[in-house]
Amino acid sequence: MTAAATRRVARPSGWYGMLILVATESSLFGTLMATYVYLRFQTAVWPPRGVAAPSVTVPTVLALVLVASALPMAYAARAAGRGDRRLALAGIACALVVQAVYLGFQVHLYFDDVSRFSPRLDAYSSIYFTLLAVHHIHVGIGILLDVWLLARLSRRLTPYRRTAVAAVAFYWYFVAVVGLFVTATVLYPSW
């Protein structure tokens, strides 16, 4: 075996594990969005009478903010790959702030919607609130992962933690992209 062949290194197992998690979660979101479309074509009036179509501006801006928060995560992953612990910390912290503000806003909007029409109203409200809730839960889990990374990186950067940063960054790319799809789906009645 040549020296070049022995140095050919695949991505770490943890990264592949995240790839498969993302694959199965994409399938989950795909099913939810397909359900939205399926239910939409069971009914003539969508959303039902008495429920206003969702407003476009704020959710769109928020979705773009979430996409933007992937940039500092990408930066953190690169910094961690180089072994630069401080810059990685800074990147994650920056992303965390944006994501936390995002989630706060979204939760506020969510309960605002709930106060206007109940999830128990009909099929529209059921899938609307379920789809959004599943996405917000994914953001919430991502924030917990960020906090975990900050705690772990505050002391030392090990190969294991470097993989963790790369995997969590990958998770955030997925959540950001899926956020665009989810937003486009729930805004469908307002197009």
Binding site: R8, I20, T35, P119, S126, Y160
Partner: protein, 632 residues
Amino acid sequence: MTVGTVARERIERLDRIWEERPGFTGWLTTTDHKRIGILYLATSLAFFAAGGVEALMMRSQLAEPNERVLSPGTYDQLMTMHGVTMIFLFVIPLSIGFFGNYLVPLMIGARDMAFPRMNALSYWLFLGSGILLYAGLLLGHGPDAGWFDYVPLASRKYSPGPGIDFYALGLILNGMSSTAAAANFLVTIFRLRAPGMSLNRMPLFCFAILATSFSLVFALPALTTDLVFLELSRKFGLHFFDVGRGGDPLLWQDLFWIFGHPEVYIIVLPAFGIATSVIPTFTRRRMAAFPLVALAELLVAFIGFGVWVHHMFATGLPEIALIFFAAASLIIVIPSGIQIFAWCMTMVTGKPEFRTPLLFIVGFILFFVFGGLSGIMLAAVPFDQQVTDTYFVVAHFHYVIWGAAVFPLLGGLYYWFPKVTGRMYHERLGQTTFWLVFIGTNVTFFPMHISGMLGMPRRVWTYPSALGWGPENLVSTAGAFFLTGGLVLLAANLVVSAWRGPAAGADPFGGATLEWTTSSPPPAYNFAVIPKVTSAYPAWDEEDRQTDAGRLERGELVLEQGHRTPGTTPVDGHLGEILEMPSESPWPFVLGALATIGFAFIIANHLVMAASTFGLGAVVLAAWHWKEPEEA
């Protein structure tokens, strides 16, 4: 293999490094894929026994018209639990959990799975899901809406008790377990193959597990979503399936079968993999059409995603949808046919020696062809609409699932028994058992084709004598008891042989794959030296096996400095790095237990307690990852 002093020292060091805690607690904390496999084996066989008893109780009730052995309510619970048990708690955990876990790392020359602790977690989640599902039945609130649990019957209005909640949450937990297992297999197969094992040299069994894992990763979310919709409807009054509020009960069926049909191939593909392991060994030749069989395995899994509507031909869907799905269902015959011809050609052109494992594989091929033919009949829409929801369908899927999926598992139990226990089973008794089980299967399930044609509907608790279904049902019931007798003999053979059978040695059958190159049972680290691989039949490459002895002496890829296994590139299998693997840990067990308790709280409507339990789970997850493998 003669072992020199240096080599013996290396082996002793490996023994020390890979040794796990002894005794009962060792089983709770183990991360050894072989011990986890054995846990899966024992648990899934216990559930198999439970599912079998349920089947016998139902057959007793159906033996004659107007029987009163069981009450209708009990019958419904037994019928539902029989289906759920056999699919989610027996076949999948046995084929993927036991055979996959035990064999994949051995066959690819690795020392463990890619994520050993997650592997343990998969098992504990599976056990938790089984406990939840059976807790319902034992508390008298078993699920009773059939294994596919159609709404509106399963809605709160028509099934007010907690039975359906046990079903839904038990299966969500089961799905988490299977997803974790599938992710683990995918990464293991792509990352941990021994250097030199490029994808085209990977055993076909691993291709089958690969295809199954892909299917699981993409199919399970549909079931999970469906179950979440169901629970949101039942517990919080949301409307997904309720026509009066803009929902649609067919949504449940669509999502269920988007999962449910790939599931059929998830069940049967590992069985294909076992067939392609057993046949070369007992025919003394390589598999015919190796690359075609590998591609056919992947293709079956892929096309399996496009056929779900054939479970719904009688639901009034538009004709164009029916035609599309009928055509897709017929296309799947092609990759299945490729495999059948490859198995047959391998046997015809080889020197078959019909020992017990091969007999079961031959039985499997016969049943698969037979069940496949009734499948082609059912793929024709007009015929399906005639016999839908009759015993003809029950006959078809029992030929496929019992005959085609479980027969190879039984053959596999005999085939790898010497590897797992280090002892031989009784060959004559094994062959007799095969004939009993083979005849029993036909006597049980063949008459169901006829009673179905005569119009007997599925899922009925009893039937009046004037309809004339008595004789077929009596024969079925007699066959079921006969079949059970055969299975008891099988169990007796294996249990007694595990204690008193003659020593088997490393390779009693002259197998082709790497598991036969190590001792029986294998040491905790599987291989003293990571084996050299230059073909898909490495155990038959004698020169390579002789070089292994020298490599052990020289310390080449012995990796006796720690808990290590080589990591290779995904396609070519070039050695890339040495991976430090985690060792035993109590956390997977704790997390699995917490998840089960949390789900039980949801069933009992204690949502705050459930949330606190999951919060505790997050803390456990942090504790799990606190100590990194490099620091161990």
